[in-house]
């Protein structure tokens, strides 16, 4: 394949990765921003979302579209509820102490992962996409008679992958409106800035924490439901998103929503493009190098604020 079309294909694949990553990393970022909790079990909430999407879709059964829509609504809700319970039962008990929440969420990671292995099993399970047409893409080249349009071999994307990109953008916009324009967002931001003062003003900080933890997990689950018609649900699938989310959140700045989106785009695209034209290992090296450079020269992240 020529360089141009190949680059376009790699960018499109990178954009799908970036869209999912932005949703997942956003969940991690919000939880850290508001609660100052480093949630190591975040990847498992992602995995749970995918697995529940399969369960819901196969229970509904009727048509793929109906099953998918049901999964998109139900799976994140269930995952959110599980996260709320985990917050009440575990994180509140350790008083959100930074060290102990890390250890506690590591434990949660294994509990969720192994419970899934014991109940759902080790196989990768597919969810049928609601629509999945192969769209061949054209390419333009400057020929003898000006610009010519042709259809390179293999240059294509599926309608579902395009949908994933737009759905992620829509959800992120909604989230931004929620955080900046709604009362719930105001409460969350107040808790983020100073939880003690917020409590003094009558904000039920404990309940806000629970909901935020649920919201973070729910976002990871939404990302997973979107991805599961492309990649299958599997009990070990939470590992990579967790690692990449941490990378994204560190680069973007913990707690900064625009920073997270920018970093997700950067990492997703670089992963797509570098691993195609060089090697996948180099893409990982690049991501890790960016993290190191950010930590050295801009420890608060690209758009993070310095702690006072």
């Amino acid at each position: 394949m020529d360089f141009g079309p190949h680059l376009m294909l790699a960018s499109l694949e990178g954009a799908v990765t970036a869209a999912i990553l932005a949703l997942t990393a956003m969940g991690l970022s919000i939880v850290f921003g508001v609660m100052r909790v480093v949630n190591v079990a975040h990847g498992e909430f992602y995995m749970l979302g995918a697995v529940l999407a399969w369960v819901v879709a196969s229970m509904v059964g009727a048509s793929p579209a109906l099953g998918f829509v049901a999964a998109l609504v139900v799976a994140p809700l269930i995952v959110g509820c599980i996260a709320v319970v985990a917050d009440r039962v575990i994180l509140q008990r350790v008083e959100y102490d930074p060290d102990r929440t890390i250890v506690a969420t590591i434990g949660l990671l294994y509990i969720i992962q192994q419970t899934t292995l014991m109940t759902f099993g080790p196989d990768a399970r597919p969810v049928e996409p609601p629509f999945n047409d192969r769209l061949a893409l054209p390419w333009f080249e400057l020929g003898e008679s000006g610009f010519e349009m042709f259809w390179p071999w293999g240059l294509s994307i599926t309608s579902y992958k395009l949908f994933v990109i737009f759905a992620a953008m829509a959800i992120l916009t909604a989230l931004w409106l929620l955080m900046t324009r709604s009362k719930a967002g105001l409460i969350m931001r107040a808790t983020q800035q100073d939880s003690e003062t917020a409590q003094a003003f009558g904000i039920p900080v404990g309940r806000v924490y629970s909901y935020v933890f649920g919201l973070g997990a729910g976002l990871a689950a939404v990302g997973a439901v979107l991805v599961v018609p492309i990649q299958q649900a599997h009990y070990l699938m939470g590992h990579d998103p967790l690692l990449l989310s941490f990378i994204v959140v560190i680069i973007g700045g913990l707690g900064s929503l625009p920073g997270t989106v920018i970093a997700a785009f950067l990492i997703g695209m670089s992963d797509g493009i570098i691993s195609v034209f060089f090697t996948p290992t180099l893409a990982k090296i690049f991501a890790t190098l960016v993290v190191a450079l950010v930590l050295v020269f801009r420890p608060q992240g690209l758009l993070g604020r310095v702690e006072r």
Binding site: M1, G121, Q232
Partner: protein
């Protein structure tokens, strides 16, 4: 920002409790051994340590290797055990991890007092475990497909009598590929030992047939998205040879279909790319008419043997290769027969050697090395095999199937001789 709770963990406190926990764990692990030594060893059951991929990326295989192993053990015990003693399977999880694999072998030898160790599919786990088995002088029977046993890289204690290796498989099938599908081949394979076996031996085998590998595309085993690799497939490719393993396999095959639409090359795949995956899964329709290697035909064929019928029923597999209890639970049918056959070989070897206890381990290995012909039977339901005692590797039939109406229909069965190659090692000359 950081609050210090009253009952905070200190590092010292944490270390203390970890230390205490480890001490208790070590003590409880040790206790049963003391008790066990009190019994005469020959009176108890024969213990086979089963290294199982219960967790990790091999868990789908592990579950079916376990079911097959348990079914084979039950059949052996129903027939009176081995040398009049019960066969007991001691299962340990290797996490599909080479380091853990070696630890598990050690546990079998020193803690469980197993007579032999028996395992496992993923070649890197076998690679990691075999040296430890050699050091501990415990026979290690593997069901892995890797060429490492016959290549001479392992040791006298490691044998693979129940399943053929990649070198033999690809050599047997290369003529079919070049005669029926095409001569310009692009290979896509996982970037570790097992995939490299495919790359090296298939490239050599197809060149011997006058064909050519026009491109080799390695993919990291942890990859989850594949479309970006496909543009590297040269346009001139006539046959796309694919073999993938792990949880990403279904995504891989699906994206392959989406990439090519209806203008792709011929596909020849190893069933590994779709083990434990139903052919009815959404997005796999494009596989219709493509070809697969199978170690053992997943879907029941018109000429099904009595032995396959018996074996399917014993393990609990239906006509479509799925669990009789759950049709969505598809087996790893092309590989797991190896567990069944290996246990029967162990039984035959122990009986030939008059095996009584760990002192007879060398005699057991010599007895298995002396085996050659293994006829198609209830003990060997996959088919006739010929074991080479010098290289510790078995040779057998391979099946090439075509996807027809969503079912794998066998088109060609290779002869045992098709897969044979020159010895690369003579383990029998090595000392115990």
């Amino acid at each position: 920002m950081t609050k210090t709770p009253k009952n905070a963990f200190t590092r010292r406190g944490l270390l203390k409790s970890i230390g205490a926990g480890a001490g208790v764990a070590a003590a409880t692990n040790f206790m049963p051994d003391v008790a066990r030594f009190a019994h005469a060893q020959s009176a108890g059951p024969i213990k086979v340590g089963f290294q199982m991929h219960a967790t990790g990326i091999g868990a789908s295989y592990g579950r079916w290797y376990d079911r097959t192993t348990q079914a084979a053990a039950k059949r052996i015990n129903d027939m009176g055990g081995i040398n009049g003693r019960e066969l007991e399977i001691v299962t340990e999880d290797d996490g599909t991890d080479p380091k853990r694999g070696a630890e598990v072998v050690e546990k079998f030898a020193t803690q469980h007092n197993c007579d032999i160790a028996f395992g496992t599919l993923f070649s890197h786990v076998v690679y990691g475990s075999a040296p430890r088995a050699g050091e501990l002088k415990i026979p290690y029977f593997v069901v892995s497909e890797g060429h490492h046993v016959a290549s001479g890289k392992l040791n006298r204690y490691t044998l693979q009598p129940g399943i053929t290796d990649v070198k033999s498989q690809v050599q047997a099938m290369a003529p079919f590929v070049s005669e029926n599908l095409g001569k310009k081949i692009t290979m896509i394979y996982p970037d570790f030992a097992f995939g490299h076996d495919h790359r090296d031996y298939f490239t050599a085998a197809i060149e011997a047939q006058g064909g050519e590998v026009v491109a080799s595309i390695p993919i990291p085993p942890t990859e989850t998205s594949f479309t970006k690799y496909f543009p590297n497939i040269p346009r001139e490719t006539e046959v796309l040879y694919h073999v993938m393993v792990g949880p990403g396999v279904l995504t891989f095959v699906k994206e392959l279909g989406e990439f090519f639409g209806d203008q792709g090359p011929q596909l020849f795949g190893f069933i590994d790319s779709l083990e434990a995956v139903s052919f009815g899964s959404p997005g796999l329709e494009f596989l219709e008419g493509s070809y697969f290697w199978e170690g053992n035909p997943r879907h029941v064929q018109a000429d099904q043997s009595e032995h396959d019928k018996m074996y399917r029923a014993a393990v609990g597999v239906n006509e479509m290769g799925a669990s009789v209890d759950d049709p969505k639970d598809v087996s790893t049918y092309a590989h797991m027969f190896g567990c069944w056959e290996t246990l029967n070989i162990v039984k035959a070897g122990m009986e030939a050697a008059g095996y009584a206890g760990p002192d007879d381990r060398a005699a057991l290995i010599e007895a298995v090395e002396a085996m050659t012909d293994m006829p198609h039977s209830d003990d060997h339901p996959q088919g006739h095999k010929v074991f080479n005692g010098k290289t510790h590797q078995t040779f057998g039939h391979q099946y090439i199937s075509k996807v027809t109406d969503g079912k794998l229909m066998v088109q060609h069965t290779t002869s045992v001789e098709d897969g044979m190659y020159e010895d690369e090692v003579d383990y029998t000359t090595m000392s115990f």
